[in-house]
Symmetry: C2
């Protein structure tokens, strides 16, 4: 059921196009995955996601395990049916959420103990249990439990965390084999190693030896300088198998996306479109635009005149500004919808540019135009 | 441009069907008007309203005058363009909002002085100014400034308020004529008189003598007992011209709607579908259902299996409960959308029943079924 086939390698960069096949359909990469942490892309309906040409979305094992709980999702026939989304879903393991949200964490060799950020209830997640959880969810692509650490971290701390991540990845893979999931779900490995080149290489090598269907790069976009993040993209991509899908987690702004793709990344996810949308920041071809700004008070221009989304086909900046000023939720919806459309359209355009061996030119022209509003 | 033609009179009740023509299209009555107080039906897009077969929506002169302000709406080409809704719009004058929201109100013969509920700024609204405001908005049906009072009110207070409402209605009509609006906007009169039969009759007679295109009944659904409200529906309808459109403001629950239509009411508006929707109360054919209830934890049934709306075609009660429990705005949207669809479909079904002279039978069977959930 699963395959990954590179369809075009850009002649002038490491960017490539590929086709990822899953039991719920095919995904053309590079691909941006909207984030549905709690089984909903914030404010957006599944129908709207389809209209934005979303190919695959991301959800989260930690969140769904805590609420509504696995029993509910099992009763409802799995995550796809639960949220009425029949295209591919990737679920993150929850390693990052245990690190960033849960209370009273205790990391042990066998797993991590914590208290729920929702109700303080105690839980113990092991690499095996995290695979079992994602089996119940029925997501197409699943992630092993990883040990996430803060930035900055010492080399020693980062090494301990990456080596634990490798041990857990092996236990996850064993459980995945034992449960015989290879026809229904694909398991990725997660590269850790903070901002240390040697550790990123060590992590990539150890995971490659374990042979996963694909590889994710975790522990980035957590506060490190942009140039270090970009260096880690490059180190990780050069250390991972070329013929496998590669995914950078939690990235990012348009320029980060270009940088990742230019390093050979195929997949990425980020909450930026919906988080910025709820704050009234719209991504346009000329840069980020804050719809509350007084300058848009009587601006009858469409949000982004170059965009074909529902919002941009129907509503002026003045109206969107009014909705935000009046605390009307429709405003959050309309700007979130536009931002998701914008990020997906950006990756569509990038795919076209790669197929025509003009990725670098497209990157330069896009980013040059995208910086216009910030220059004003 | 404006006409009102009764197309069928029910043989066994005062219910009737009619066709109301406006410059932005025709409206089949009896009609439910979703409420877009601040130029947006809360959480719902204009496209979704059209898919719910909404024929006409209600907005509010007081709110739009204060925010975004008339200059903005004028710059954007009027309210229809501003909110991207090209079907008919009715605007309320703001008399009720001055009474219920504004600070430091002082009623004078010439109008009402108040401070904005948003920023405390001082304003003085006169009957003439309220017509000018609605001219700028460009709504199809406009209302004169009225003097709303609380319930309970003494007979003396109610008489003073209704007589002021009549004087203001005359000034409104004079301004309406002076501005030559009859081809673009239709002006209604608003019947007041609290719960006093003699005052309701006096108000209806005085307004009828002034000859408006249609008539609204205000000052109901403000806390009075249901039987008094129903009595006032009946008194007002029997005192107003039969050949004119009649509108009861701010009503109501399904049984109130049946009662109003059975008294001869053609139009009504209410925030109930969206307000209840945001609280997770869904109207279904069997009654009101609270989606947060524990009983729906693993309920894979659609919200209302007898409904054809987007929500009911796609989402289980368990999923909607999860969205509310997780504070996901998508839940508010989906239940609000369903409720609007439900109220509009109810009035469609009522129109069909009137055309077939079986309004009373339909009322009985609908309300009997609608009481099932509350009996459990």
């Amino acid at each position: 059921m699963f395959s990954f086939k590179i369809t075009h390698q850009d002649k002038n960069s490491k960017a490539r196009c590929a086709r990822l096949s899953t039991p719920h359909g095919e995904v053309e990469t590079p691909v941006f995955m909207p984030v549905a942490t709690q089984a909903a892309v914030k404010t957006i309906s599944p129908r709207e996601l389809e209209e934005c040409s979303a190919q695959i979305i991301l959800s989260n094992a930690y969140h769904l395990y805590l609420r509504p709980g696995l029993e509910v999702i099992e009763d409802l026939g799995g995550l796809h049916n639960f949220m009425s989304w029949q295209k591919p879903i990737l679920t993150d393991s929850g390693g990052y959420q245990v690190f960033s949200l849960a209370f009273l964490r205790k990391y042990k060799d066998e797993g991590v103990e914590f208290q729920s950020h929702i109700d303080g209830s105690k839980h113990f997640l092991t690499p095996e249990k995290v695979i079992q959880i994602q089996k119940t969810l029925g997501s197409d692509i699943i992630m092993p439990l990883d040990d996430c650490i803060e930035y900055p971290a010492t080399h020693e701390m980062a090494k301990i965390a990456l080596e634990r991540t490798t041990r857990w990845a092996k236990l996850a893979k064993d459980e995945y084999k034992k449960l015989n999931l290879s026809q229904t779900q694909a398991l990725f490995g997660i590269v850790q190693g903070s901002t240390y080149e040697d550790l990123r290489k060590q992590s990539a090598k150890e995971l490659t030896d374990l042979d996963f269907f694909g590889y994710a790069v975790g522990g980035l976009s957590v506060g490190e300088p942009q140039d270090l993040m970009y260096e880690m993209f490059s180190v990780a991509m050069d250390s991972l198998p070329q013929q496998k899908p590669r995914y950078v987690m939690g990235v990012g702004m348009p320029e980060d996306i270009f940088e990742a793709i230019g390093s050979g990344v195929d997949m990425f996810d980020c909450v930026i479109p919906t988080r910025y949308g709820r704050n009234g920041s719209a991504f346009t071809s000329e840069g980020k635009l804050t719809v509350r700004n007084a300058e848009f008070k009587s601006d009858d221009k469409l949000l982004d005149p170059n965009c074909d989304c529902y919002t941009c086909k129907n509503f002026s900046r003045a109206y969107l500004r009014h909705l935000f000023n009046s605390s009307e939720m429709l405003g959050l919806r309309l700007v979130s919808l536009h931002n998701i459309y914008f990020f997906i359209k950006l990756t569509q355009d990038i795919r076209e540019s790669i197929k025509e061996d003009r990725f670098s030119e497209f990157k330069d022209s896009f980013l040059n135009r995208f910086s216009q509003l910030s220059k004003v």
